[in-house]
């Protein structure tokens, strides 16, 4: 129990559309242990970001958590008031976003934006906050940290802005850092630097990371465990080695095959046919069945349960129905 930092049980987050209820996240279970990096993988629109925003309590106004528990550090976040959540956000749980270009307020100085969280959470004075921020900026690789404080976001490049976002997120020494596609908008060379920086900081601060990505390439490098999401559900969960050696779910397999490889000579890049169905158009059976190369009759009729391949490797697929069934909470 002690080493579980975050445990999500049966999370359902819904949006109210035009008289329709849209189940963006539909019964997600996942666990993050202390100082572990968990990668949450899946295509766009599969509910990864909404899962992370649900943890933060930052779901857009027309959405709500309709079922499930988010137990962080022993307390259920879904039962917390807005005031209590404010004390946790940016303090115990921090978040960095996909778009460093637009995630900083264009009219406030970097210093102003970096210190405001510290002033609120750690009750620091302006000077103390500034000192802490300068220390953080140096840590994320700014040589001229003092000068950056009085600069504005538009004076920095995308990679520098993401470093600022990381400094902002880590300044309060959070227990959990949620990184929502932190490198997607960056150049490949900058990507590697940012990932390296996140690894270093994780070691230093003993922070757990929830890394949301659609790039399986960076998962192998960063994560301890992987959760694969498809159409609002978890379809596979495994230790990173186990997943790469033996991707069980046809969807995971498809994602793996979609990574361009230099070793194998490929005429065409593999791609999974079709698109993620919209949350109001989920099929009756397995949600992946219409796109699945291995789909059987049963897949179109019944929704599969979760089966265990042992060693914490779970998969939601009828191909494994002979194996031990995991009961969902």
């Amino acid at each position: 129990m002690e080493h579980k930092l975050l445990e999500i049980k049966g999370l359902k987050t819904q949006f109210i559309g035009d008289k329709k209820i849209i189940p963006a996240v539909d019964g997600v279970d996942l666990t993050i242990h202390r100082s572990e990096t968990l990668a949450l993988v899946g295509e766009s629109g599969c509910g990864k970001s909404i899962t992370s925003l649900s943890i933060m309590g930052l779901i857009p106004e027309n959405g709500k958590i309709s079922a499930g528990e988010i137990i962080f550090n022993g307390e259920d976040l879904t039962k917390k008031s807005e005031k209590e959540l404010e004390r946790i956000r940016g303090n115990d749980v921090s978040m960095i976003f996909q778009e460093p270009m637009t995630s900083l307020n264009p009219v406030l100085t970097i210093g102003e934006q970096l210190t405001e969280g510290l002033i609120i959470h750690d009750k620091l004075s302006k000077q103390e906050a500034n000192a802490r921020v300068i220390e953080m900026l140096k840590l994320v690789g700014f040589a001229r940290a003092e000068e950056i404080l009085s600069e504005y976001p538009h004076q920095l490049s995308g990679g520098m802005r993401q470093r600022v976002m990381i400094a902002m997120a880590m300044a309060t020494n959070p227990k959990l850092l949620i990184a929502d596609e932190p490198t997607t908008a960056l150049d490949v060379t900058i990507q590697a630097q940012i990932l390296e920086l996140m690894k270093e900081l994780k070691e230093q601060f003993q922070t757990s990371i929830l890394l949301i990505t659609h790039d399986l390439g960076i998962v192998a490098d960063m994560a301890d465990r992987v959760v694969v999401m498809y159409a609002g559900q978890v379809v596979e969960e495994a230790e990173v080695e186990s997943l790469y050696e033996n991707p069980a779910h046809p969807y995971t397999e498809g994602l793996m095959k979609s990574i361009p490889s230099l070793e194998k000579e490929q005429k065409r890049l593999y791609s999974i046919q079709g698109y993620v169905p919209a949350p109001d158009e989920f099929p009756i059976g397995c949600r992946f069945a219409p796109r699945c190369e291995k789909a059987m009759e049963i897949c179109h009729e019944k929704a599969p349960n979760i089966y265990s391949l042992g060693n914490g490797h779970h998969v939601r697929c009828f191909l494994y129905k002979e194996l031990e069934e995991i009961v969902e909470q």
Partner: protein
């Protein structure tokens, strides 16, 4: 910045020249002149011809333009055909009233529109937002003069709360604070009438601007930091959402001297708007040209001020 301002001011000269040519052409192309309408049969036709000669109305339009330009450039605005008074005196007489009315209107507009717009944006598509939207559209589609007449009918004639015309109570001889209150009492009805109309468009604008900024990534970042809702609104949303109002403010500054032609006329408010109206009806060329040029200059200056304010408010905007 100083260089920028000087460059912009110098740049206004050719613009004003072109505007003056256009204005002069427009003014001159209206058939007749200031004396056409003098139907008094007792006036000798010869006298009218003499007057036309005296004021240079018999010269060719091009000649007349350059005479006007030469005088205007030297600060000679001419003599009103109608009142036989120097145009500068007429304008000085009226400008105070117009500015007083315009500034009051502007203050009322901002005091109403900003809170209403923000309120509306924080509850999009609810009953209160839809009610505000409905009233905004009524306000937007109501013609000024109709609103003014309606206001006079309700608040002056029926309720007798406000006077329907003038800037002070004639012959009351108020001084000090009483004088000020009396003026405020007179300005309120025309100012509120004018304000209601601009509140409608401002409210719409502020609502959509706040709604737009609330969707921005940096607002989500601010929430993710754990800032309370109020602080996010004040520090991150409003600053960005209200910045585009600077443009409106610049336009309003420009419109300040244009006066509210119709409203001033309906409320018999002796401001520039009425002067423009009267001079246009009477083809009083010197007054017309001076007033129109004044409007052109104030719009250019208003835009310049808006640009300067932008540079102050938005760090991304820099002039060198």
């Amino acid at each position: 910045m100083v260089k920028f301002i000087i460059r912009r001011l110098l740049g206004m000269i050719p613009v004003l020249f072109v505007i003056s040519v256009l204005l002069f052409t427009l003014v001159q192309s209206v058939p007749g002149d200031a004396f056409t309408g003098d139907l008094n049969p007792k006036i000798d036709k010869k006298y009218i011809d003499e007057m036309r000669e005296k004021f240079g109305l018999n010269k060719s339009p091009v000649e007349q333009y350059f005479i006007w330009l030469k005088n205007f450039a030297q600060g000679e605005f001419g003599i009103s055909f109608k009142n036989k008074l120097p145009v500068s005196d007429l304008i000085v007489d009226r400008i105070g009233n117009t500015v007083f009315l315009a500034v009051t209107t502007l203050i009322i507009t901002y005091l109403l529109a900003i809170p209403i717009g923000i309120y509306s944006a924080n509850r999009p598509y609810t009953l209160s937002d839809n009610t505000i939207t409905t009233f905004s559209f009524i306000g937007l589609s109501l013609p000024t003069f109709f609103g003014a007449l309606l206001a006079i009918y309700i608040f002056s004639i029926n309720l007798e709360w406000f006077p329907s015309s003038g800037t002070v109570t004639a012959g009351a001889g108020y001084t000090g604070i009483q004088y000020l209150l009396d003026r405020l009492h007179h300005v309120l009805l025309p100012a509120v009438t004018l304000a209601i109309l601009s509140v409608a468009s401002y409210t719409r604008y502020i609502r959509s601007s706040v709604l737009d900024v609330k969707q921005q990534d940096y607002v989500r970042t601010a929430y993710a930091k754990g800032l309370p809702r109020k602080k996010v609104m004040r520090k991150h949303v409003l600053r960005n959402a209200l910045m585009p109002l600077i443009t409106f403010f610049g336009l309003d500054l420009g419109g300040l001297f244009a006066g509210a032609v119709l409203t001033e006329t309906v409320f018999t408010w002796p401001g520039l708007g009425r002067l423009i109206f009267e001079s246009t009806v009477n083809r009083d060329y010197p007054v017309m040209m001076t007033c129109y040029m004044l409007i052109a200059i104030s719009i250019l200056i208003g835009n310049l001020i808006a640009d300067i304010l932008y540079a102050k408010a938005d760090p991304r905007v820099r002039y060198d």
